[in-house]
């Protein structure tokens, strides 16, 4: 039994985690990163498009904030959105000062390009592999600072006191499973734990996300008592390759790529989906347009439409989008210099996540979250392209700094059950939550325990969980996971209706019950990925339930969430954040207010047209 003690523990080592670790280190904290992948394997590396930052004459953070708020369909919180837009220029230039290889203009300054939903070409980029450069640049800085990285160490659960009210709880650390050796390790955090574990893309069968994107952080924070916010808002990227889900960057459309249906029509204009912005309308608009075209019989095989960039010319494509040539060739067998690429919508991004304030703090003392796993909320019901990377660096840095300080800071965004303004009375068709009581932070025995005792207690609990899974001669988790992905893909996709969402909740329930019979058949303690993935699948089940419950309750159309019988935005009834709390195994759905009041102005909800 080993306990590792540090000031700040960062869980996950993608963009947000790396930035948090650097920021905490700069505050003088002893920082350690605990991550299931080596940092350079993180999925931030797959981000292609770029970083929105108001850097140039004629642009301003206010314009960026306006675009972001409109893109969010007015479900973003103004203090979060304005922080993002104010801090992004400095954070972006910080990356350049750390040597990031941005694409350049003739005068040697960093290049920017147009992206969907933006009123100014403010997407700063490095070819069509911006995330790769961002990830490696920040990892270099972590190496430079000598920050300790426990890699291939899978964090299974948070160590939190078990006060009845989550707002009274304190997070003292987490439990890691050392994948290489099979040892369980306790990590004690003196001042704060930052969760930066990315999104839950593996909820869906067709996703741009990596296999590692199982949303472990959300699930752990949720069971520890931090609510999950706005989880029903899932971004389906309009241009992914049909065979694999590999992403074709929005940069292709930003540079002038055109979408065609099988009748050769430029449908974004010709069928009136977005008469002004066409292909560069917001992602949810383009994704629904594509599915509509396919449903109405104007698609190509594999439910695809065509994305054509040949007219841009080889020189421009090679200069700005070379990576796209490789992706289309390697993963779809199509040479985009010679023919159009087949594309279809694929799960891409979770707007929702762990409820945090603008400092990255959750309602649990000492627990912070940043990046895709968090919901600050800057993206509201729909994220604009080029806004994910600035979120990582802006809120990663803030979370890291605050975690290092060890003191709760004041904020405009309120968190936790006390921010509740309304309780839901949605009628779920099945019981939710519980079944196996594993990993619930109830009990009331640790109220006055020392941090080490809290971590030790959780370590013991997790040891039992591992032993049980190892000893059970049960079914393979992969069967449960694939059933879960199937129902999410079928029923909780771009187009949603009540019957489908209820069906999904029933299927998710069945998965939760079947999960009781799961066992790990690999008997080894060495690199037991079977065990790790079995635990991940449990995390996916918790999140699928939260997501679908929120989607069933929300009877309106806003951003990425569309309902068949409710095809309009209903501000009077639904201008509010969805919150689901684990509540000791008895999930509870409630709502909180959206903050539209900015520093100097109020963001008045308008019709979102492009």
């Amino acid at each position: 039994m080993t306990l590792h003690e540090h000031d700040v523990i960062v869980v996950g080592a993608g963009g947000a985690g790396l930035r948090a670790a650097i920021a905490a280190h700069e505050e003088g904290a002893d920082v350690a990163m605990v991550t299931k992948l080596h940092p350079v394997r993180s999925h931030t590396g797959a981000a292609e498009g770029g970083i929105n930052a108001a850097l140039r004459e004629g642009d301003s953070w206010e314009d960026h904030a306006y675009d972001t708020m409109k893109g969010s369909d007015y479900l973003g919180d103004a203090p979060a959105v304005e922080t993002l837009c104010q801090d992004s220029p400095e954070e972006t230039i910080q990356l350049e000062h750390w040597g990031m290889a941005f694409s350049r203009e003739e005068d040697g300054r960093v290049s920017q390009r147009p992206f969907g939903g933006l009123s100014f070409p403010r997407t700063t980029y490095a070819g069509a592999e911006t995330g790769h450069h961002l990830l490696h640049t920040m990892y270099e800085q972590v190496v430079k600072r000598g920050i300790q990285v426990y890699d291939e160490q899978y964090v299974m659960e948070l160590a939190v006191t078990d006060h009845g009210d989550p707002e009274d709880r304190v997070c003292h650390g987490c439990i890691g499973y050392d994948i290489k050796t099979g040892n369980l390790n306790g990590f004690v955090a003196n001042t704060g734990v930052v969760i930066a574990t990315g999104g839950p893309g593996q909820l869906y069968a067709h996703t741009t996300n990596a296999v590692a994107q199982t949303g472990d952080g959300q699930a752990m924070a949720y069971r520890a008592g931090a609510p999950l916010q706005d989880m029903e808002f899932v971004q389906f990227h309009p241009t992914t390759l049909p065979s694999t889900g590999v992403l074709i960057s929005e940069g292709v459309r930003g540079e002038g790529g055109i979408l065609y249906n099988s009748e050769g029509e430029r449908f974004m204009f010709e069928h009136g989906y977005a008469n002004n912005d066409g292909e560069l309308a917001s992602r949810d608009v383009v994704a629904r347009a594509e599915v509509t075209e396919v449903n109405e019989g104007r698609g190509y095989e594999n439910d695809a439409v065509h994305l054509d960039m040949r007219h841009l010319g080889e020189e421009r494509i090679t200069d700005r989008l070379e990576n796209i040539i490789h992706l289309a060739t390697d993963f779809e067998g199509v040479d985009p210099l010679e023919e159009p690429m087949p594309v279809k919508p694929g799960q891409h991004y979770a707007m929702g996540g762990i409820e945090t304030d603008e400092n990255g703090a959750t309602c649990i003392e000492g627990l912070y979250a940043a990046g895709e796993c968090a919901c600050v909320s800057v993206h509201g019901s729909n994220r604009l392209g080029g806004n994910a990377l600035p979120e990582l660096i802006v809120f990663g840095a803030r979370a890291g700094r605050h975690a290092a300080s060890g003191e709760p800071a004041s904020s405009q965004i309120e968190t936790g059950p006390s921010a509740r303004t309304e309780t839901s009375n949605v009628d779920a068709p099945v019981e939710l939550g519980r079944v196996g009581a594993d990993a619930v932070t109830d009990g009331g025995t640790l109220l006055d325990a020392t941090p080490n005792e809290v971590v030790d207690h959780t370590l013991e609990q997790e040891r039992e969980r591992v032993e049980t899974l190892m000893e059970t001669d049960g079914i393979n988790h992969a069967d449960v996971r694939s059933d879960l992905q199937e129902t999410m893909t079928e029923n909780v996709n771009v187009f949603r209706n009540e019957a489908g969402l209820k069906q999904a909740l029933e299927d998710i329930r069945a998965c939760r019950e079947r999960y009781q019979d799961v066992g790990v058949s690999d008997p080894s303690r060495t690199f037991n990925t079977d065990l790790m993935q079995t635990i991940e699948t449990r995390n996916l089940i918790d999140q699928a339930e939260v997501l679908t419950l929120g989607a069933l309750a929300r009877t309106e159309f806003r951003g990425a969430h569309w309902r068949e019988s409710h095809q309009e935005r209903k501000d009077e009834e639904w201008l509010k954040h969805t919150m689901v709390a684990w509540n000791g195994g008895d999930p509870e759905l409630y709502y909180t207010d959206v903050i539209l009041e900015g520093e100097e102005k109020e963001y008045e909800p308008k019709v979102r047209s492009y």
């Binding site: 350079v40 350049e96 060739t329 988790h477």
Partner: protein, 289 residues
Amino acid sequence: MSTHVSESESEADAATDQQDRPAAQQRRVEKKRERHEQRERASDSSETEGQTILLKVFRYDPEVEDKREPRFDDFHVPFKKGMTVLDALIYSRDHYDSSLTFRHSCRQAICGSDALFINGSQRLGCQTQIDDLDQPVRVEPLPHQEVVKDLVVDMEDFYEGMDAVEPYFQEENLPSDLEEQRQDRANREKIKMSTRCIWCGACMSSCNIAAGDNYLGPAAINKAYRFVMDEREGEAIEQQRLETIEEEQGVWRCQTQFSCTNVCPKDIPLTEHIQELKREAVKNNLKFW
């Protein structure tokens, strides 16, 4: 901005870049032709669609009694068009044997987790189409690295090599918080290929010298190249970097066999980069002579 090259040499570099682009294009066309021929061959020899392919996978686990002696297991996987070696491994694990162990994550050749030894050469599992391979498909862990379990190798040596070249940007003289350093487009183009490295370790595994000797290896030297050639880093640090790569484990160990360049899944001209650094080092030594 670094001042290590004269005006005329900068122009020469820019001119080379112009020639490089067609060369990169040439490589791409060449690769495509090879793949096309291979597919033709494969479809002649067997109608793979609707068929089952045979995967022979290396197995080893020091902790499990019947896996202590390394062996190969056969997996029969139903073929689907577009199936990659990684897809076939995932299928085998999820349907036949959940203890089959391999690293993988992004499925799109950017995380660098799944470099494997496939039919005798180092390739990424996710980037290798089953259609492009002769059957049966033999999948082994990367050679020259210690096997942890099945297809998983110990990467510590690789990471240590990377750390040894001080793999981070070092420039103290920076503009104000909101202003970027200027970088010439040609200079960005110059370092572009070197920045594509995904740390997969294929190059290191393919290199005979790295196998036997204490050698930094192609990826680490390429990382050094990325900074040496970046005009944003100053002269003093460049001097220091050139000294590092000239040390005993450095560039002079390379015997220009091109094995690293041949296996690099990101088409980085590793051998050329190493040769270029040798030239820089010589020029640098002459300067102080």
